[in-house]
Amino acid sequence: MGDAAVSDRTDRKDKKDRRGRKDKRSRKDRTGAAERPAALTLKESGRWAWTQLTSMRTALILLFLLALAAIPGAIVPQKSIAPAKVLDFRSANPELSKVYDALGLFNVYTSPWFSAIYLLLFISLVGCILPRIRVYVRALRAEPPVTPSRLDRLPESATSSTVRNADEVLDAAATVLRRKRFRVVRRAGSVAAERGYLREFGNLLFHLSMLVLLVGIAWSNLFGYKGSSIVVTGQGFSNNVTQYDDFTGGGLFRDSALTPFSLTLDAFTVRFETGPVQTGAARQFTANVTVTDRPGATPHQEVIEVNHPLNINGTAVHLIAHGYAPVVTVTDGNGNVAFNGPVVFLPQDGNFTSTGAIKAPDARPEALGFQGFFLPTATVDASGPHSLFPDALVPELFLNAWAGAPKAETGTPQSVYSLDTTGMEQIKTADGTPVAVRLKEGEYIDLPDGRGRLTFIGWQRWAKLQVSATPGLPLTVGSVAAAILGLMLSLFIRPRRIWARATAGEDGRTLVEVGGLDRADARTGLDDEVAAVLAVMDDPVEDVPETPADEGSPTEGAVTTTSGRMK
């Protein structure tokens, strides 16, 4: 981002282009103007392509394309972020979805075109950075450049004269420039000074950090993993792939890399806003857990909150969602308990209207099933049963009841949150209307025809814990920190060159000239610095003796070195 440095990139490219043109011309001259120039060889077209790719213009266009390409991912639902929304979108727009699928719009950030843009951008960056590192290393060892013959051609220059001799004033200039942290070299009759080498360093650091950032992210993606599991209060979780509800591991991730910890969710405290402003907004989530770092280790108590994940030997445990699990007992037609315990229901809205299914496949003579809503603060109005507040103030269950012949275990995976009603029929009352179960805490319902009983004992909270390892994280954080440091150096260090020359004049006085050049725009103070160098070279103003020739020209003007400056 260093501007002077970046413009070097264009300059160099232009030079290269010019050189290329010259070569072509000379070849043409040799072969005769009548003959068409030979087609580019593979090597030449390769070089041409490389020059194009690493040019500033291409980088600029790629940056712009990257910005444009990132936008659809925010508008079209993404599989990796909101898979449920993608499904909704598909069912609502089946035709459009085909087009979107073909374009990869449901996976923008892993799509070939998006990857192509950023990979080309990074190749362009490498192609730009590598030669510049070479140039920079050479510049670090080089002396400040040769003193130009005409200092008055520089953006800022000043001349004066002195009674002292040339060596003396050049020494003075060199001293003051060194004090200003310039790199100074004395040449015959002149001093050359340069400073601001850190600017290009910062610029290179920034761009290299971008590469390291990419490496860090790739590392995390290859070796890291992320999974989540719903844990009901009082129950446990052990870090094993089979215990996850969903799990994504990187390409090079092996199950053996999982930290073998286990934990128990002892308590989960949730508090919601009950005041008049933002009623129902979450105010507190606190999970108290007992953690065993590895089998056989001493268990210890920990607290997980939203901004305080748990870290177990490099594995992070985050609290990412929560909900309700009604505790129920299903008694079958034979009077035996067919199911007893909490059932996880999934929240559907901000007030935790939750849906789920209670299954008692082992009920006899008929298997029983229920599906419907758990409402923490229940109400029934025109829009049906729903919850009015996220906390469990008036918890109720609204369910349909199903019964059917017991099924053989097929091993086919089934959703825990919905009831597969094939081979079952809805239980109806004597007058033929379906049984609508509505239970308050502690209530029970006897199903018609002695089919069984459902008791709503109470409810528990569940927490969704995310377990993840991001091994590239330190590298990622480090590279971002280095990038910001580099950026600041490249934007705020002021590379500057100052030259001073002293020549013996005919009248015995020494002519002094100082010129300055800023190698980046947006800089200020060049005029002041040139003036400061000139001030140590020519004669102090108060030493000026009155001379008849100078009568008409007041000397106080001599200290004013600038005017009309617009800042």
């Binding site: 213009r57 940056l63 907004a281 939203v306 020519d538 001379t547 007041p554 001599a558 600038t562």
Partner: protein, 339 residues
């Protein structure tokens, strides 16, 4: 004391004062309407205007000391490529300008006080929702303007800045307003302060940079048509406008980088991933990339000048879209608008 009510009062006062200040700046510009074209070499910003200073200005070009001054100090001749200042404003319009500045300063004070009271009322930093972020960012924009106006004589930026402040506070008071409330648990973090302040200051600087780019384009167009009169002549030349647009944006860029990075660190703590292509994250990156493009474009032949300035204006659009559009249109993790 009911700080929440005082905060609201201060904010409405600030809004009205910005509006009045904008009107007075408008009068200042109108007063300058009939001014002739400025004398500076506006058409060629790169052209060096030699400013000769020193004793014996008539003979200043000579590098040798005048004859007969063997014992005395030679006059210093200084050449500079710094752009000349615009013609001084006539007294009449200047008086209006000073009044508008004073009004802007009072409006800013009221704005800042409103934000502070809001913080006291909520007993936390006032950056928890769209309303609070807007009033803070506007306060930062105007503060930056006041500093620039005092230190670098950039009062001429007053009309666009007060216009922006009026629109911003108007939106805040009329559309984004929500009553004082606590934060959701995801916002309970030190990053709440770091991330949002960095984003707010960077945003303020990008806003100023874009306003300067708009002025640059106006001035450039007028210069090319040869119609640089009135308030346009009161502006500094293209070179200076472009330079200040660059400076503000360049200072904003590392801050914005930091804001995005701090947001990522925070997201790692709060949501268990540092980057998840949440709409807000996506548009922050888009804004970042456009600013990066602007900084590169300013140095690329064929892009520097008006094309770069247009990129700078896209930065403004992207920033405000990221703030308003993303909060209100997309459902994401940053939906803290509360409206």
């Amino acid at each position: 004391m009911d700080f929440a009510a005082y905060s609201n009062l201060a904010m409405v006062t600030a809004w009205l004062l910005y509006l009045v200040a904008m009107a007075v700046f408008g009068v200042e510009w109108a007063m300058a309407r009939r001014l002739p074209a400025s004398t500076e070499t506006a058409k060629a910003p790169a052209e060096r205007s030699a400013v000769l200073v020193g004793a014996g200005a008539t003979g200043a070009q000579a590098t040798e000391p005048p004859a007969g001054t063997t014992g005395g100090a030679a006059p210093r001749n200084v050449r500079t490529s710094v752009e000349a200042a615009p013609a001084p404003a006539p007294e009449r319009s200047d008086r209006w300008g000073r009044l508008a500045m004073a009004l802007t300063a009072i409006a800013w004070l009221s704005n800042t006080l409103g934000a502070v009271f809001r913080g006291i009322a909520a007993q936390r930093f006032p950056w928890g929702n769209m309303y609070e972020f807007t009033i803070t960012t506007i306060a930062f924009i105007v503060l930056a303007y006041l500093v620039l106006a005092q230190r670098f004589r950039m009062r001429w930026l007053g009309l666009p800045v007060t216009l922006l402040a009026t629109i911003g506070l108007g939106l805040a008071v009329e559309v984004f307003y929500v009553a004082v409330a606590d934060l959701v648990p995801a916002l309970h973090s030190v990053w709440f302060v770091v991330h949002i302040v960095a984003a707010s200051i960077a945003g303020a600087l990008f806003n100023l940079g874009s306003l300067l780019s708009i002025l640059y384009l106006l001035r450039r167009r007028a210069d090319e048509k040869g119609t640089t009169r009135g308030w346009l002549a009161q502006l500094p030349g293209q070179q200076t406008l472009d330079l200040w647009a660059y400076r503000t944006t360049a200072i904003g860029f590392p801050l914005w980088t930091f804001a995005v990075a701090a947001g990522a660190v925070w997201a790692q703590y709060a949501w268990g991933r540092f980057w998840g292509w949440d709409p807000k994250e996506t548009f922050s990156l888009v804004t970042w990339v456009i600013v990066a493009a602007y900084l590169h474009a300013r140095l690329t032949a064929g892009w520097k000048g008006s094309r770069a300035a247009i990129l700078s204006i896209i930065v403004l659009v992207s920033f405000w879209f990221n703030f308003i559009g993303v909060n209100l249109i997309f459902a994401g993790l940053h939906s803290y608008a509360g409206i």
